[in-house]
Amino acid sequence: MKKLINNPDFVVEEMLAGFEAAYPEYIRKLPFHNVVVRKAAPTKGKVALVSGGGSGHEPSHGGFVGKGMLDAAVAGAVFTSPTPDQILEAIKEVGTEEGVLLVIKNYTGDVMNFEMAGEMAQLENIKVASVVINDDVAVEDSTWTTGRRGIAGTVFVHKIAGAKAEAGGTLEEVKEVAEKVIANTRSMGMALTPCIVPAAGKPTFTLDENEMEIGMGIHGEPGTHRDAIKTADEITEHLLSKVLADMSLADGEEVAVMVNGLGSTPLMELFIVNRKVKEILTEKGINIYKTFVGEYMTSLEMAGCSITLLKLNAELKELLDAPADTPAFKII
């Protein structure tokens, strides 16, 4: 395990210390809690957005705390949902009279821990609502199961719901627009190499030199299948076809694109993927309104990428374009 760390047991605490040291102009960390909040939180008169999840997905979620996006991010252990007490602290620190929206990725652990925190917050008379993100089309959707995982599409929810809150939306309105984003966002990913959870010390899965895993989760959960490595164009075609098959996108409609790196894939390769995304969408007559290429929802040092499409309408476009100023996401 080659990592720039000190002690596997303290990676999250030390990371947050380094994060706080880097961005005092944006955020502050709650002492004794793995919670990062906007420097001047709470923002009076504004619905507060609280998100978070396991660590190891940086810049998610702390990197998106700031103007126009999140009010607080709660960091669990690596790939492990944070506990309700931590989430509750975040809610209490940033909660306003306008209420708090919990933005949760759809993992059983995250949903239960945030739910418990929400219940506790309500006991303290804080108005709480929540949305659950489930953009990963690699997973079959069904009401009988846990449903789909939340992956990189999460960032679009942060951005757009954050803009709505910043614009003075009520809790109901912010929740509604977040759900609109969720309903219109689809993603799928693939991995070339696994990652190593510091406390585990060895890879969660192994892949041969010529193998890739299609549809794996951002915690190294197995995907839909393994396959021999293909070209970037073929891989892009496959991922995008799965994403498109699950959306109703008519000729002339507009989307936002995110090509997300999982950790160790060079930007060069992400742009090569984006080239093909553009080619395919153009062929289909789908207009690209805005593109995001980079690392947004990572999986430690996993190599691979995910592709996300968000179907836009006038309202979503306006909110996507609204200013945001956070350590890892800025719209000017």
């Binding site: 396991g54 669990g76 252990a77 690596v78 790939f79 492990t80 949902s81 944070p82 506990t83 309700p84 007490d85 931590q86 993992y107 059983t108 652990g109 239960m112 821990n113 739910e115 418990m116 990963d136 690699a138 997973v139 079959e140 009988w144 199961t145 846990t146 789909r148 995982r149 959870v197 406390a199 585990a200 969660t204 899965f205 989760g217 915690h219 190294g220 959960e221 197995p222 839909t224």
Partner: protein, 221 residues
């Protein structure tokens, strides 16, 4: 009859067993999950251990209180899915024996009823979803069925843990419909559920530790 200090002793043993099985549980979780179940559970029971020291220091003998503290500690240290599930289980179990300083086998049934109800309420899982419910529910069923039978307590606890064992084994053959493993669809078949395994280990620890306690006790059963 178990005293509060017996219960504390059982809880300590649970911590030991979980720690011993840290790698095993994590290994199981790496096949169909995210390779952390053993790590998370060990962290939680380590924290419980130090809380138990407090409890002993303060001479707390309210078993309900002891279980509640255990549950709250698990909730605030384990994280992931297992944290809220086991946490809720212990907290609901606590309600069943709040104020009691001794518990008998019928109290234990109430504890387990509470635990199971807590897990199901929190996780919304049913039997055959390939979760800890598959170990816990058969165990509770044994306790329910034993209600009118004449059974040695140790024998009963043995049957309880055997039912959990069977439930754990059963998870190998089925497809997950709840939790992280459910994302795998049919690919989850063939793998044993980590949470059902930890549930079995806890029930097995109860059986073994109570047997150990009773063995020392000249009055037996």
């Amino acid at each position: 009859m178990l005293s509060a200090s017996d219960v504390i002793y059982v809880l300590e043993k649970m911590g030991t067993v979980i720690a011993e099985n840290k790698e095993y549980l994590t290994e199981l979780d790496s096949a169909i999950g995210d390779a952390d179940h053993g790590i998370n559970m060990t962290k939680g029971f380590d924290a419980v251990k130090s809380k138990l020291e407090d409890i002993k220091q303060k001479n707390i003998d309210n078993i309900g209180e002891i279980l509640k503290i255990t549950g709250m500690t698990l909730v605030s240290t384990v994280g992931g899915a297992a944290g809220p599930l086991y946490g809720t289980a212990f907290m609901k179990a606590a309600l069943a024996v709040m104020g009691k300083t001794e518990v008998d086998i019928r109290d234990f049934q109430n504890i387990m009823e509470g635990a199971l109800a807590g897990v199901k309420m929190r996780g919304k899982a049913e039997i055959s979803d390939k979760t800890m419910v598959d170990a816990l529910e058969p165990a509770v069923n044994i306790l329910r069925e034993s209600k009118d039978k004449e059974l040695n307590e140790i024998e009963l606890l043995n049957n309880v843990r055997l039912a959990a064992l069977q439930g754990m084994e059963y998870t190998k053959g089925i497809q997950a419909r709840k939790g992280r493993a459910s994302y795998l669809g049919a690919r989850s078949i063939g793998h044993q559920d980590p949470g059902a395994t930890s549930s079995y280990l806890l029930l097995n620890t109860i059986y073994q530790t109570v047997e150990e306690i009773k063995g020392k006790d000249i009055n037996g059963g």
